[in-house]
């Protein structure tokens, strides 16, 4: 028996080594042919994007996403990308051409094997027309009913866009609006609305909850959880309260500062309360005065009120 085992092992080893030799040779012999086929396939895709007579120069690149297979600089015209990602059932490979002005001039499917009528839509004229004409900073939406496939394609397109923007020095803030600069929307001014008095009756459901407090002499910092528009008035799924950090000087009866840690109200409306012009109203506001008040942010009364209620909770707690 032992003899048999040794014999088996030796035979298998010899066979494996011999086979590896054959396979390495076959690989060496055939891979160039496979590659040539692929390059000539690429040539067709590149010409389809930018036309004949263009000079296609392969480009060295670092691509974090790992989705870009090849990048060609099209002399004086733009960049061509061969992108590959995993789709629903099989890999998806497509070519993307971005012209020097940032416009996506071409989008062609090279390989697509996803479900007919669903994932296959990324190869349909409708989607092609949707993609072509977008720019390197546009945001693309997935196709409903073909989420996996279209996300794969859009992630690939995003990877190509990222490389293009990096090379061209274009900032992409992800809003899809190439005109907006992505610096400090806070610098914009806000309009003020009605006056909110600090001391008034509020319902128990609108009251703030002190989550945390820390004392440093007469200065107390309160972290207050306060139901805002989202919780009290909207019909959002899973609304959450806002969280505010309030600094109070107990002895001087002054509000030192109000900082919004989390604002869960409506984006672009309620969130406007997180603005220094609104919050600065609270700085050094004395709450000895029963008539102390601040002005709400116009069109964001509920959210503004919630911040005031949070301050009120802190004041009550400090007494």
């Amino acid at each position: 028996m032992k003899n048999n085992k040794v014999k088996s092992i030796i035979i298998v080893l010899v066979l494996v080594i011999f086979s590896s030799g054959i396979l390495i040779y076959a690989d060496k012999a055939l891979t160039p042919i496979i590659n040539d086929k692929a390059v000539s396939e690429d040539k067709d895709a590149l010409v389809a994007l930018f036309g004949e007579g263009e000079n296609f120069i392969p480009v060295e690149y670092t691509d974090e996403s790992g989705l870009i297979k090849k990048i060609y600089e099209v002399e004086d015209s733009g960049y061509a990308y061969i992108v590959e990602n995993r789709g629903y059932a099989d890999k998806i490979e497509f070519s993307l051409g971005i012209a020097n002005d940032g416009e996506i001039v071409g989008y062609n499917i090279i390989h697509l094997n996803d479900t007919e009528g669903f994932g296959s839509k990324v190869g349909d004229d409708e989607f092609i027309e949707y993609v072509e004409g977008k720019t390197s900073t546009s945001v693309l939406d997935t196709i409903s009913g073909a989420t996996v496939t279209s996300s794969a394609v859009i992630n690939g397109i995003d990877a190509a866009k990222a490389h293009f923007n990096e090379v061209m020095g274009i900032e992409d803030d992800g809003t899809g609006n190439p005109d907006e600069k992505n610096d400090e929307p806070q610098k914009s001014t806000i309009d003020f609305g009605e006056e909110i008095k600090l001391f008034r009756d509020i319902s128990s459901e609108a009251k703030g909850n002190i989550k945390d407090q820390s004392e440093d002499g007469s200065i107390i910092k309160y972290t207050v959880e306060i139901p805002g528009y989202a919780v009290l008035e909207s019909d959002y799924d899973n609304p959450e309260p806002n969280i505010v950090l309030i600094e109070i000087d107990k002895d001087e009866k002054l509000i030192k500062s109000v900082e919004i840690l989390e604002i869960k109200d409506t984006e672009g409306i309620g969130t406007k309360v997180d603005h220094e012009d609104f919050l600065n109203q609270f700085t050094d506001l004395s709450f000895e005065d029963e008539n102390a008040s601040v002005d709400a942010v116009s069109a964001a009364t509920s959210s503004s009120t919630s911040i005031v209620n949070a301050v009120l909770a802190a004041i009550e707690e400090s007494k």
Binding site: N4, K5, K7, S8, I9, I11, V12, L15, V16, S19, I22, L23, A26, D27, L30, T31, I33, I34, K37, E41, D90, K91, H111, N113, T115, E116, G117, F118
Partner: protein, 212 residues
């Protein structure tokens, strides 16, 4: 396992529908006729060459190592054929994709080359490999006919070497097409139903035999 020793046929003991050999491939690539035919040819070539080589090896390899040896020989042939397909028939290689590589553990090929034979059986099974592959191809083509007609409404054959379409028949109008048949669920359904039909046909044959 006794059935593995009996003779296989197109309907009687069909390797895919009765013995359930090579089921993965049967479910995965039978979405259209071109794929099924391409895969059938590949299976045939690998089985023939494999059976020759494994038959030779079985004469001096101890019984315990036969399966491993068969697998290694399988791998070599499949890898070479895979490279050839990618090089000269890229469209077929593209649509079959990883399934060609998965043929290494295709039970039909292993069965045809004699990896599962009993210890005493040391003959070279070339004829057996040929016949089994043909019966398997019959099954693959049958499944793909059903799936392509019901799932895509068309029946088409594309020449893998040149890419031109040999024929393209439109059978079911596109409004009545059920895309499900091209997806895995459809594959399971079709194979299951066909297997049931084949089982019934086999049962009838067995019953007839007994009566005689």
């Amino acid at each position: 396992m006794e059935k593995l020793d009996n003779k296989t046929g197109f309907i009687k003991n069909n390797p895919l529908f009765i013995l359930f050999l090579g089921l993965t491939t049967g479910l995965a690539i039978t979405t259209n006729l071109t794929n099924a035919l391409g895969m059938s040819v590949i299976v045939l070539i690998v089985s023939l060459l494999g059976s020759l080589l494994v038959g030779i090896f079985k004469k001096f390899v101890p019984y315990e190592a036969v399966l491993i040896v068969s697998l290694v020989i399988n791998v070599v042939f499949i890898k070479i054929i895979g490279l050839l397909v990618s090089a000269y028939m890229p469209s077929l290689g593209g649509s079959l994709g990883v399934q060609i590589t998965l043929l290494t553990v295709n039970t039909l090929i292993l069965y045809s080359v004699g990896a599962f034979d009993k210890k005493e059986n040391k003959e070279i099974k070339i004829k057996g490999a040929l016949l089994n592959s043909v019966f398997y191809s019959f099954a693959l083509i049958l499944i793909s006919l059903v799936r392509e007609i019901l799932g895509a409404g068309t029946l088409s054959l594309i020449n893998p070497l040149s890419g031109e379409t040999i024929f393209n028949l439109s059978i079911v109008p596109s409004d009545f097409v059920l895309g499900m048949f091209l997806k895995p669920e459809g594959g399971f359904l079709v194979v299951g139903v066909l297997a049931a039909i084949f089982a019934a046909l086999n049962f009838k044959k067995d019953v007839n035999k007994e009566v005689k």
